[in-house]
Amino acid sequence: MNTVLEMKGIRKVFPGVVALDDVNLKLERGKVLALLGENGAGKSTLMKILSGSYQPDDGEIFLYGEKVEIKDVMRAKELGISIIYQELSLCQNLTVAENIFALQEPTRWGLIKDDEIISRTRELFEEFNVDIDPTKMVEELSVSSQQMVEIVKALSLKPKIVIMDEPTSALSKKETETLFEIIEKLQQEGVSIIYISHRMEEIFRITNDVSVLRDGKYIGTVKTADTSSEELIKMMVGRTMDNIYPVKDFKYLRDEKLLEVRGYNKENYFHDINLYVRPGEILGLYGLMGSGRTEIAQGIFGILKKDRGEMFIHDKKVEIKDPFSAIQHKIAFVTEDRKREGLILTASVAENATMANIDKILNKFKLIEDKREAKIAKEHVADLKVKTPSIHQTINKLSGGNQQKVVISKWFEIEPEILILDEPTRGIDVSAKYEIYKLMIELAQKGVGIIMISSELPEILNVSDRLLVINKRQIVTELDPKNTTQEEIMTYIAGRGE
């Protein structure tokens, strides 16, 4: 008997939402099962039921053929189930080692043996080929390092089943490779893995089977080897999609510099940045983790204060000293960390959608007009197919991908001329990605200049008109995405060394 886990007839209802309806799942020993579905399909909810954070309204779970009740997180751990959550869940105020050994600390006379925690963390990092200082505070780490800590933390328990909910969305290329090696090793040790991702190439590379959910319903399971990306998309979306990337049939509208940055510099953050973007052009920024792309964007947007350099918009010199003045100059910035920088989690979908330009929802008495707000919010929800029971739903109740859509949509309200997107499609499903690309093209058609930061090479190569490669906080080269390859790009980065 090779079946490790079976979930049968799982149902879970949230107010206004049937998140899961009669869902089945089967996991084999030493296999990687992909769980696929659009944003809000119920993947995370199903996994939270398996890991004990949610209780199902109906359905049964069998482990090694025996029925089990997973009443809380501790129980799941005891049963050998470990999870890497979609949202980072580390304690920022503790060190790396303290996070990894949370609740498992070795003690002597009731006192935690700090030295042992650190040395054992080192051993774990060596085993999994991770390079992070165990004594560092988590708040000092980059997002991707935090994600690696999260992964090691889940594996430190020597689980039989590991759930990975979009583990790579916060990882750079190099770390993604490390993760794949880890997965391979785990498989050989007989560990079973449930793997959630919106990146097709990953699914085909590392998984054995694929189960698909749509709108909380179980659609089916196929062998990865016997299927194609088209078929999977059809199962997910319910229809065929001819193209993953919409066609942009122009490079730019006018050969003029909409935004130009000359000699931007901030010690320790970015050096001698020269770049420009034309109306209707999509400029891609590619680089490895820590290469400083986010910081460059933050510099342009006035969050990081440059110590040298000039900026021109429509050839006029401008001084951007804070986000307010950036917005005054019609610059919009979709940040990469939606929870920390993008969303008001306590507010509704409507309030989040309109927050970048409140003036737009004021009536002639300068008072907020509920109707205007609702109209705008409904447009956004419809345009980006945001899955929510109502525009008044508190946004933290939405699935991750749907939250991301709202984060992007809010910037449309300032009618930006320059749009900076930092990892805009992180955690977004294929059809929504398509919608976002289409939106970018529509904006470009209207003359907006777009700067897109992405860690996904296929995306950056297909979507951008011009590509800048960033390494060590500098621009190393400019490439034409239509006439280059992934390999060529990597040589610019690898060539310069780490």
Binding site: I344, A347, E351, M355, I358, D359, K366, L367
Partner: protein, 321 residues
């Protein structure tokens, strides 16, 4: 179903729980005392509540952005001392009022600037200014009350509008309406809500969070100064030792009314309901003639129960895990 429709109404969601608690209390006390439901007593309750309520209206703004203002009682006292001093120099009462409001705003400015610009937690800043403002009030008066004799000022807190509704209640309702609209319907209020929900995200859409914080403390200071004027009038004197401990009542009113202490949620109208609950408890227990110790105990229990009803109500509407 009709009931379900009501239950799902957005306003019922916001206020349902506290209103329920309030109605419960009113029913309780009208059984316990025949005097409770008389028009005159109702007006008395609103009058008694007015000072705390106005403080709490200002406090709602402060709590909304996730900060706290423990200095409101002291600001109230200082303002009323300033009013007393100004009047005693013989200036026109109108000028004296303007001046007093100015001092209240200035006190708020100080709290706001020190907390926002020097990045000191507002709890600490306002614990400190709680002592500082009161100390200044004592120093200015040598800790003696200043009698208020000006008839205009005395009318504000003691007369009744059209012979029916106490002026203080009119003032309170006026501020209630203005503050409620500002918080729930203006850009400024929306920004405050954003800052309370996620400061970084608010900064990224161009909100100057420091300036906003300063303004919000100024609103709280202004509210305290208005209360200070009402207080001086009601007490026929400016008392430097007045209103100590009122900060906690103001905060409790706001939280009873559904304002979150960690920011992001709250309405001025809810705070008003919260303040009325506190007033009904105090008045009702006095009418019943309950002994002092038991008043303290019962008040505490009622506050817990009222918040519990509200928490339960929100949960049952919003659902839970």
């Amino acid at each position: 179903m009709q009931l379900k429709k009501i239950m799902n109404n957005r306003y019922f969601k916001s206020y349902g729980g506290v209103l329920l608690a309030l109605v419960g209390l009113v029913i309780l006390f009208s059984f316990l005392s025949p005097h409770f439901l008389r028009t005159n007593n109702i007006l008395t309750i609103f009058n008694q509540v007015s000072i705390i309520a106005i403080l709490a209206f200002g406090m709602t703004f402060v709590l909304m952005i996730g900060e706290i203002d423990l200095s409101v009682g002291s600001t109230l006292a200082l303002s009323s001392v300033i009013l007393g001093i100004a009047l005693s120099t013989g200036v026109h009462p109108f000028i004296a009022i303007i001046f007093t409001l100015g001092v209240g705003i200035l006190a708020g400015l100080f709290n706001g600037v020190v907390s926002a610009k020097l990045k000191i937690p507002s709890f600490i800043v306002t614990v400190a200014t709680m002592g500082i403002f009161r100390g200044i009030g004592y120093a200015l008066t040598d800790s003696r009350p200043i009698p208020i004799t000006d008839s205009v000022i005395l009318k504000i807190g003691n007369n009744r509008f059209l012979g029916a509704i106490p002026n203080a209640v009119i003032v309170m309702i006026f501020i209630l309406i203005v503050f409620h609209i500002v918080l729930s319907r203006t850009k400024f209020g929306r920004q405050a809500k954003m800052v309370g929900g996620n400061k970084v995200a608010a900064e990224y859409v161009g909100v100057d969070t420091k300036k906003l914080q300063v303004k919000i403390f100024m609103i709280s200071g202004l509210a305290a100064a208005v209360s200070g004027i009402l207080m001086a009038s009601r007490l026929y004197s400016a008392q430097p030792n007045t209103a100590s401990g009122y900060e906690l009542d103001a905060i409790a009113s706001a939280v009873l009314g559904g304002t979150s202490l960690s920011g992001g949620y709250g309405t001025v109208l809810g705070t008003f309901i919260g303040a009325v609950i506190m007033g009904v408890i105090n008045n009702g227990m006095n009418l019943v003639g309950m002994a002092y110790f038991y008043q303290q105990i019962v008040k505490g229990l009622i506050i817990i129960i009222a918040v519990f009803i509200d928490v339960r109500n929100k949960e049952s509407i919003l659902g839970k895990k």
